[in-house]
Symmetry: C2
Subunit: 238 residues, 2 copies
């Protein structure tokens, strides 16, 4: 594709930049020893993430007022702790566990890939995560954002159009000067709907081995397909 008009790349974060599932499993195993609790952390991680779309839907349809992901994660966590019969955690421990989402680790190619494209484009997050979550995560994982953009600025969740149009406006650009990068089709469809360019990056391990849910077969209506961020950088010609 002709990339000469593109000035900025905006990245989905959970699953696209960071490996939430293995990060939670690893931290969980560490806490298991430290706190003396026993959990199937892979299942726990999947259930935690599984509660995310329904919780955002409650905000989207007005059942809940605007609520940050930190708060939604905590609501889901409190419910999960009950369901897994994990009792006796202090408020401080629950808060610490909830903030595991601030401490997720990047996919192996992510930081180097971001550094490469950053030499040529404005590079920003565009995540449903709140600003403090994304800021702490960037510091933890060394993600070199030029700026942190979040659904929090429009108080709407992707794929609602306001999230994308607000980001484009904050960047001072036209929609077709900004390329959304994500491992999820619905996110790219949302960006496409407001006129942004789109790059699909495949993350087949996001939901664990053999459980890829968002790998596309054919139907190439996005501007660019990449196997990881290094491939993205090459396909962008930088």
């Amino acid at each position: 594709m002709d990339t000469s008009t593109i000035r900025a790349l905006t990245f989905d974060v959970f699953g696209t930049v960071v490996d939430w599932r293995n990060s939670i499993i690893e931290e969980g195993k560490r806490l298991e020893v430290e706190w003396g609790i026993e959990v199937d952390w892979a299942r726990f991680a999947d259930q935690w993430r599984g509660g995310y779309e329904p919780a955002m839907a409650q905000v989207r349809n007005g059942e809940l007022p605007w609520t940050t992901i930190d708060r939604l994660h905590r609501m889901i966590l409190d419910d999960l702790l009950d369901r897994h019969d994990i009792t006796g955690l202090s408020e401080g421990q629950k808060d610490y566990l909830n903030r595991v989402w601030h401490r997720l680790s990047p996919w192996p190619d992510a930081v180097e890939g971001l550094e490469r494209v950053r030499n040529h484009f404005i590079v920003a997050s565009l995540s449903n995560g709140n600003v403090s979550l994304l800021t702490n995560m960037a510091k933890h994982a060394g993600l070199p954002w030029d700026c942190v953009l979040s659904a929090e600025f429009s108080k709407r969740y992707k794929p609602d159009p306001e999230v994308y149009t607000t980001a484009v406006e904050l960047l001072g650009l036209q929609a077709d000067q900004v390329m959304m990068v994500a491992a999820h089709e619905h996110d790219l469809r949302g960006a496409q709907a407001v006129g942004m360019k789109t790059a699909y990056v495949s993350r087949p391990e996001e939901f664990g081995s053999g459980r890829a849910q968002d790998v596309l077969y054919g139907l190439p209506s996005f501007d660019l397909f990449a196997t990881d961020f290094l491939d993205l950088s090459e396909k962008l010609g930088v």
Copy 2:
């Protein structure tokens, strides 16, 4: 002071981090040669900056709807070009000149000072500049923000309280966990009014030699005074 409760530092940008006056003079001299125009750039810079507070006041008192600094800068610039009898610039040239505010250079100690404090605190801009201006400037000047915070998020201008409270909320912190750093008393008073900590950094050359306007004599009601960002880092004990 006891800095153990501070988690984030928010920085005023124009005058505190970057030397707007000499940056405009230097770029102006370059454009003078390239574009064949003749201007007293020191006077031009002072007048441009001088139009800034009155323009923000028009937004504050409702004469103008929310208008970004990029647009305010351009309104002032168009007026100044008239007053200086500079004619014949194309729209592209005017836009380029207006975006000199995206290309300002940091004070000599700024980048190293920010890097030092960034190892211990969240480090963010908190400027009346719009997000794209601050993002482009950070890239140009190598300012290592953990996140870009701007008056644009509250659509109010400092020292209105909403700018500070919105920043504190986006950082996910309490007001007294955030320290505002600025070379201007009115900015720190605004931060103080919402309960933030305050650090005054002296920038006696901001308005040109011998024209220091915001150097404080006595009245030490701020939490910390520093001569530059390296001194700030030392006074914060990091």
